[in-house]
């Protein structure tokens, strides 16, 4: 039911405006704080008129936290996670929806379970695996006595080791392996008419051909939406990068913001911290602006 009366219109706009203010106010305050100098930013209450030191603060924040390489790191990681998700989820959903094979239900539920076990829950085992990717295989070999056997026969002690700490793969891979995207694709694939699949079969297209030529182009909107969400999500990751990057060369922008926050006993340089925040906020904002069209279409509408 769509009602249109002037009074109702006024109220809906009022609610919209209230929501808008509620969302935007914190950003405005951050931006204003970022334009003050050390004295003004610590005034109580802080002046809501912008100061004149905005670019100076931005520059200071950029240099102090060494944001250039950090932003690049963040970008590589976020892009890697987004791309990985888009590809892996499409493949898994394709397998689940279009193929009948033994153990399909089991695999479906295994994927589903990852939804209930986010990274934060399984962070210790995940850390152990990333520290040595081959650790589980080593354990299996030790438990089954296989490594003992090999040592007896060849005299070589088997010690599998492949560490991913302080590497992009270590940052990206654990974040890629979850089910969110799979289900988005699955729902979409289920709406693709069977006749389209059959038409492709009649045209001689095999499974992979159908996937690449028909399914993927049709899921463009989904890919856009998923990519955007995952980019933002990965960009804002804090706990995981903090845990596995001990080396400054792989530090993320979001975790490095911490450096700008005044220490106890240090100068209360909140204007610099706010300026740094603004810089770190910018890339996801640009991504959302660029991807907005896909993003909305992919989440709400199924094209008929």
């Amino acid at each position: 039911m769509v009602e249109r009366t002037p009074i109702l219109n006024f109220f809906t706009h009022l609610i919209l405006f209230a929501g808008f203010v509620f969302c935007v106010a914190p950003f405005v305050i951050v931006a204003i704080a970022a334009s003050h100098n050390l004295k003004d930013v610590n005034d109580v209450p802080m002046s809501l008129l912008p100061g004149s030191d905005f670019w100076v603060n931005i520059k200071t924040a950029w240099v102090t936290a060494d944001l250039g390489p950090k932003l690049l790191n963040s970008f590589i990681m976020a892009f890697g996670v987004a791309a990985g998700k888009v590809i892996v989820s499409a493949l898994t959903a394709f397998s689940i929806v279009y193929f009948r094979y033994p153990g399909r239900t089991l695999i479906f539920w295994l994927i589903f379970i990852t939804l209930m076990l986010p990274l934060e829950v399984r962070i210790v085992p995940t850390y152990a695996v990333v520290a040595n990717v081959l650790e589980p295989y080593q354990t299996i070999m030790d438990l089954t006595g296989l490594s003992w056997l090999i040592e007896k026969i060849s005299g070589v002690r088997v010690q599998l080791s492949l560490g991913l700490l302080n590497s992009y793969s270590g940052l990206i891979l654990p974040l890629v392996a979850t089910a969110t995207g799979t289900f988005l694709y699955r729902q979409f694939f289920l709406t693709v008419p069977d006749e389209l699949t059959e038409a492709a079969r009649m045209d001689g297209a095999g499974a992979l051909r159908f996937f690449v030529d028909i399914l993927l182009p049709l899921s463009r909107n989904n890919m856009g939406a998923l990519g955007t969400i995952m980019f933002l999500w990965a960009w804002n990751q804090y706990l995981w990068p903090l845990l596995i990057t001990t080396d400054q060369s792989h530090a993320m922008a979001v975790t490095e913001l911490k450096q700008l926050i005044p220490n106890v006993g240090g100068a209360p340089e909140w204007h610099i911290a706010m300026a740094g925040t603004l810089i770190v906020m910018l890339p996801p904002l640009i991504v959302v602006l660029l991807m907005q069209r896909w993003f909305v279409r992919g989440l709400i509408a199924t094209e008929k």
Partner: protein, 366 residues
């Protein structure tokens, strides 16, 4: 061009059997229409020929090669789907040329063949459009183009006209027919619309409940229906059926209330039969005319060129098609008269045709 041989084909879904052993032979270049109500297994049969559905039992051979285990692309069939099933993200040209692209035909040759097909189907000005921007009839044509371009041995049509409006359907019908004359490929066309079936078919296969009821030319099926089901399914309005018992001098109808004088039925006295008469074969006469059955008029449907008169024959519904400009009042009594050679007899028990006037039914010239 290819012949299709179907031998003892069955289809099971889990425990339910939907096709119960079908034997059919389609000659090379023939246009065969499979007609039946929904759920009769006609689409399943078509999809088994296409290779989209596994064959549970029996064999299907195209040009003498058993294709049971072959992928759709290896069978040389092309299919036109009910909902067209065009690829929404591809232009008309890409849709038509997709099978060639998959087959690895070089782009130049592909474009040439797409052009050729588009010319035949009058789609040349639409080649760059997306399916979304096409009308129903145009989409239908693209779907046909997609089937044509592969120069298939066999064309399969799965109720392709049922999504079109009435006028377009008539137009596409004649276009399909013309196209068939031109390409001369063996075509199998599935439909539940008997007008479509009668007008298109070289040969008609009537199916019901997963079995073939009758195979024959449209004229044969109309004039000599092999079973009670075929008799009532083919023809509109449906053939009138009167239940009766055979007596010495004819039939006792409707629990003995009415008598129908029929000579030489050749049926055993006391046999339960259904006597069928086409509405077109019934004449309207004065109620008291000799040999006429008296009936009460229920309803008159004006068709312009003629009218359908629904009457009540002691509770049994009965219809007449007449081109005479008579308008009996609903509620009035009229007489019904017909030639006994126009009667069809079916066993009440099995529904099978009982041939009693073998020599006297003229075969219409084809």
């Amino acid at each position: 061009m290819a012949s299709i041989t179907i031998r003892g084909v069955k289809k099971n879904y889990a425990k339910t059997q939907v096709v119960h052993g079908v034997d059919l032979d389609f000659a090379s270049g023939e246009f065969v229409v499979i007609l039946g109500p929904s759920g009769c297994g006609k689409s399943t049969l078509l999809r088994m020929i296409a290779g989209l559905e596994e064959i549970s039992d029996g064999t299907i051979a195209i040009d003498g090669t058993v294709v049971n285990k072959l992928e759709p692309r290896e069978r040389g069939c092309a299919m036109v789907f009910q909902n067209y099933a065009l690829y929404p993200h591809m232009s008309v040209a890409q849709n038509i040329g997709y099978s060639l692209k998959v087959a690895g035909v070089p782009p130049a040759e592909r474009a040439q063949r797409v052009q050729a097909v588009a010319r035949v189907l009058e789609l040349e000005h639409l080649l760059d459009r997306k399916p979304m921007a096409l009308s129903g009839g145009q989409r239908q044509r693209v779907a046909m183009g997609r089937a044509m371009i592969r120069e298939p041995k066999v064309f399969l049509f799965d109720e392709p006209l049922s999504n079109l409006d009435a006028k377009l359907r008539v137009q596409m019908r004649s276009e399909i027919r013309k196209l068939h004359r031109r390409l001369n490929a063996t075509s199998v066309f599935v439909t539940h619309d008997q007008v479509e079936a009668m007008t298109l078919a070289d040969r008609l296969v009537v199916m019901n409940g997963g079995r073939v009821e009758q195979v024959g030319t449209p004229a044969e099926v109309y004039s000599r229906p092999a079973s009670r089901f075929v008799a009532t399914f083919v023809g509109a309005p449906a053939m009138n059926m009167l239940e009766g018992t055979v007596t010495l001098d004819g039939l006792s109808l409707l629990g003995g209330n009415r008598k129908l004088n029929v000579s030489r039925t050749g049926l055993p006295v006391g046999a339960k039969v259904a006597a069928g008469i086409r509405p077109e074969a019934v004449r309207m006469v004065a109620p008291g005319a000799p040999g006429a059955l008296a009936a009460t008029v229920d309803l008159i449907e004006e068709l312009g060129a003629g009218r359908v008169i629904y009457v009540d024959l002691d509770g049994a519904p009965f219809s007449i098609v007449t081109s005479e400009t008579v308008h009996p009042e609903p509620g009035s009594t009229i007489g019904l008269q017909f030639a006994e050679t126009d009667l069809h007899f079916f066993s009440s028990k099995t529904g099978a045709r009982l041939d009693v006037f073998k020599a006297s039914v003229p075969e219409p010239a084809l």
